[in-house]
C-alpha cells in the first residue's frame, strides 16, 4: 500500500477524486482505497510528522509520499518536482526513473515571503524525519507543485484543482512504478514446527535449510512420518534435506 500525506484538504481533493478514495472513520482525516491511504496532516512540520507517524503505525505501507504545494523564487507556478534533498541534510533516495524534475527543498516554520529558494515548504522535514523511523529512504518520496513565487496567499479550490489536475496521470504512473517488497512464503516451516512441536531454535535451523532449498530451486522433501520425540523428529526432518 502507498501512503500519501497532504497538509491541506485543498491539495488532496484532486487526488481523492482521481483515485476514488473514500473517507473513513478515523481519528485523522483519512481517505482510502485498496492501494492508497491518504491522510490530511494540517500545516507545519510537527503536524506532518504526527500524521505520517499515525499512518505508518496503523497501515501496512511500503512507500509514502508527501504531496503538496511549495513556494519558489526560481521556478514557475505549476511546475512539479521530486525532492532530492531536504534542508541540506536529508536525502530521499531516488532509485527509479521518473518524469519529474528534481530539486532540493528548504523547510521553514513560517511562510517565506522573500529570499532565493528553489523550493520552500513547511512540512517536508517533519514528514521525512517521521518516515525514516519506519521505512528506508528509497521508500520515502516528496512531490511538490509550485503554487507561488514566495507570496503569502490563500489559494481557492479552483486554483488548486487547476494546479494539480494536469499532473495526476504522471503521479499515478509514479505510484505504480514503486516497488512492493518481496515476501517468501514459509508456511511449510510453521506447519512442520506445529506438527512435530519444534523449539524456536530448531525452527530457525529448519528455516535456513528450507530457504537454501527454495533459493536453489530444489524440490522440498515431503516430510510425513509419525510424531515421536521432539529431538528425534527434528533430526529426521533435517536428514531429509541433503546439502
Amino acid at each position: 500500500m502507498t501512503g500519501i500525506v497532504c497538509a491541506y484538504l485543498k491539495e488532496a481533493k484532486p487526488l481523492i477524486k482521481y483515485f476514488n478514495l473514500k473517507k473513513i472513520n478515523d481519528k485523522f482525516s483519512i481517505y482510502e482505497n485498496k492501494k492508497i491511504s491518504l491522510i490530511i496532516s494540517n500545516q507545519g512540520r510537527l503536524n506532518s510528522a504526527i500524521a505520517t507517524t499515525y499512518l505508518l503505525s496503523t497501515r501496512n505501507i511500503s512507500n509514502i509520499i508527501n504531496f503538496g504545494i511549495a513556494g519558489s523564487s526560481e521556478f514557475e507556478i505549476g511546475e512539479i518536482f521530486l525532492v532530492n534533498k531536504i534542508n541540506n541534510k536529508f536525502f530521499p533516495d531516488i532509485l527509479i526513473s521518473h518524469p519529474f524534475r528534481e530539486s532540493e527543498i528548504i523547510c521553514f516554520d513560517e511562510v517565506v515571503e522573500s529570499g532565493n529558494y528553489k523550493l520552500v515548504d513547511m512540512e517536508s522535514e517533519g514528514f521525512f524525519k517521521a518516515a525514516i523511523k519506519f521505512l528506508k529512504s528509497h521508500q520515502i518520496h516528496l512531490i511538490k507543485i509550485i503554487s507561488d513565487n514566495l507570496v503569502c496567499f490563500r489559494p481557492s479550490d479552483e486554483f488548486m484543482n487547476n494546479l494539480i489536475t494536469s499532473h495526476l496521470k504522471s503521479i499515478e504512473n509514479y505510484i505504480n512504478s514503486l516497488k512492493e517488497p518481496k515476501h517468501f512464503d514459509l508456511k511449510v516451516v510453521e506447519n512442520l514446527a506445529k506438527k512435530y512441536d519444534l523449539s524456536f531454535s530448531q525452527k530457525e535451523q529448519l528455516k535456513n535449510r528450507i530457504m537454501y532449498y527454495l533459493l536453489n530451486n530444489l524440490e522440498l522433501p515431503d516430510i510425513d512420518f509419525k510424531k515421536s520425540e521432539r529431538k528425534n523428529d527434528f533430526r529426521r526432518i533435517m536428514n531429509e534435506f541433503k546439502i
Binding site: S97, S137, Q205, L215
Partner: protein, 317 residues
C-alpha cells in the same frame, strides 16, 4: 534502464577541483546535488544497501586521515609490509559474499578526490619502511571503473620509481593499462555458475581468462585468486571442471602465485547481510569460530581444492 550514477553528490569543498569537473563532464544527464560532507549522505542508517545497488549514486568527496591501513587477517598477506588504502568506498559489482554489505549503510560509490593527501601519507610510510605491498582494490574493484575515474593510473604513476608493489585485485577485464614492473595484477576467478549466481554485474569467466592471458602476453606474471570458494550444489564437479578449464587455458608457469580461501565472514557482518540479502549463501550450515563464520568442512574443501592446484607459490587463508 540503468540508473547507475544518475545522481552525483558533490562535497562543496571539492566541487571546484579540476578532477571533479572532469568527472562531472562525463555524466551530463546526472542530477548534481551539493552536500556538506560525504558522511551526511553515506552514513544515515535509514538507507537500503540492497536497493541502492540497483541504482548506485556517486559521491565525490575529500577523505580525511587515516589514508593507509594495515591489512586484515581475513585477507591474504602475500608480502611483508602489507597495507591497503581506500581511494573508493564500495564497488560497482554486486557480489553476494562481499563483506562491504555488512560494513556500510550505503552501497553508493564514494570516490575520494584528494589524491595528493593519499600520496603524501603513503610516501611518509614508505620512507620509513623502505618497501611496501599496497592494495588499492581492497574496498572496491578499482579497475572496473578505471575508464571513468582513472584512479589506478594515478597510483601507478605515483609508485613508478618506488619499491612499492601495487596490487590491482580485480574481476574486471579492463587491463589496457600502462604496464610497469611493480604492478601486481590479481585476477579473481570463479566458476561460471558462481559468477552468474553470486557476482552480479561482473564479466564472465571466459572474459576474465582472456584478460589474464593478455596480461601474461605483456610479460607480466599475474596472481590468480580463487577466493571465496563457494560450496555450490555439486561443488566438487563444478570446481574440478572450473580449475581444469582455467589451467588448460592458462599455463601455470606463467603465473606468479595462487591465492585461495573458502567463504568466510565476520559473524556480525554475516547477520546484517542475511537480513538484507536473499541469497542461499546465507542459509548454508556454517560453524562460527572466534567470531568468524566458515564452512563446517572447511578443511576437506581446502584439501580438495589443493589437490587440483598446480605446483606454484600458494597463499591460503
Amino acid at each position: 534502464m540503468n540508473l547507475r550514477f544518475s545522481h552525483i553528490y558533490v562535497e562543496k569543498r571539492v566541487k571546484n577541483e579540476e578532477y571533479v569537473k572532469e568527472i562531472l563532464a562525463k555524466f551530463p544527464k546526472a542530477e548534481i546535488i551539493e552536500i556538506n560532507h560525504y558522511k551526511d549522505r553515506f552514513n544515515p542508517y535509514y538507507q537500503s544497501f540492497r536497493a541502492q545497488k540497483e541504482a548506485q549514486s556517486l559521491i565525490l568527496a575529500k577523505k580525511e586521515a587515516p589514508f593507509i591501513y594495515e591489512a586484515s587477517d581475513l585477507i591474504q598477506k602475500q608480502d611483508i609490509n602489507f597495507f591497503y588504502t581506500t581511494p573508493m568506498l564500495n564497488c560497482i559489482y554486486d557480489c553476494h559474499y562481499c563483506f562491504l554489505q555488512g560494513m556500510y549503510p550505503s552501497s553508493n560509490l564514494v570516490l575520494f578526490t584528494n589524491f595528493d593527501d593519499f600520496f603524501n601519507e603513503t610516501e611518509k610510510l614508505y620512507k620509513k619502511l623502505g618497501n611496501m605491498f599496497l592494495s588499492i582494490s581492497y574496498d572496491t574493484d578499482i579497475l572496473a571503473v578505471e575508464n571513468l575515474f582513472g584512479v589506478a593510473k594515478k597510483w601507478a604513476d605515483f609508485v613508478k620509481d618506488k619499491d612499492i608493489k601495487l596490487e590491482l585485485r580485480t574481476k574486471a577485464v579492463n587491463v589496457d593499462f600502462p604496464y610497469q614492473k611493480n604492478l601486481v595484477f590479481a585476477f579473481s576467478l570463479s566458476p561460471e555458475i558462481v559468477i552468474k549466481k553470486y557476482e552480479k554485474f561482473t564479466p564472465s569467466l571466459e572474459a576474465r581468462i582472456k584478460a589474464v592471458k593478455k596480461v601474461i602476453k605483456k610479460g607480466f606474471k599475474p596472481v590468480i585468486v580463487f577466493d571465496p570458494i563457494i560450496k555450490v550444489p555439486n561443488f566438487k564437479e563444478v570446481y574440478r571442471e572450473f580449475l581444469n578449464k582455467v589451467f588448460s587455458e592458462i599455463d601455470y608457469k606463467d603465473i606468479e602465485s595462487i591465492v585461495y580461501g573458502t567463504f568466510r565472514m565476520n559473524s556480525t557482518q554475516f547477520k546484517i547481510i542475511k537480513k538484507q540479502l536473499l541469497s542461499d549463501i546465507y542459509y548454508y550450515p556454517y560453524n562460527v569460530k572466534n567470531g568468524i563464520v566458515e564452512y563446517e568442512d572447511k578443511k576437506e574443501v581446502i584439501e580438495f581444492i589443493e589437490s587440483l592446484l598446480p605446483d606454484v607459490k600458494k597463499f591460503k587463508v
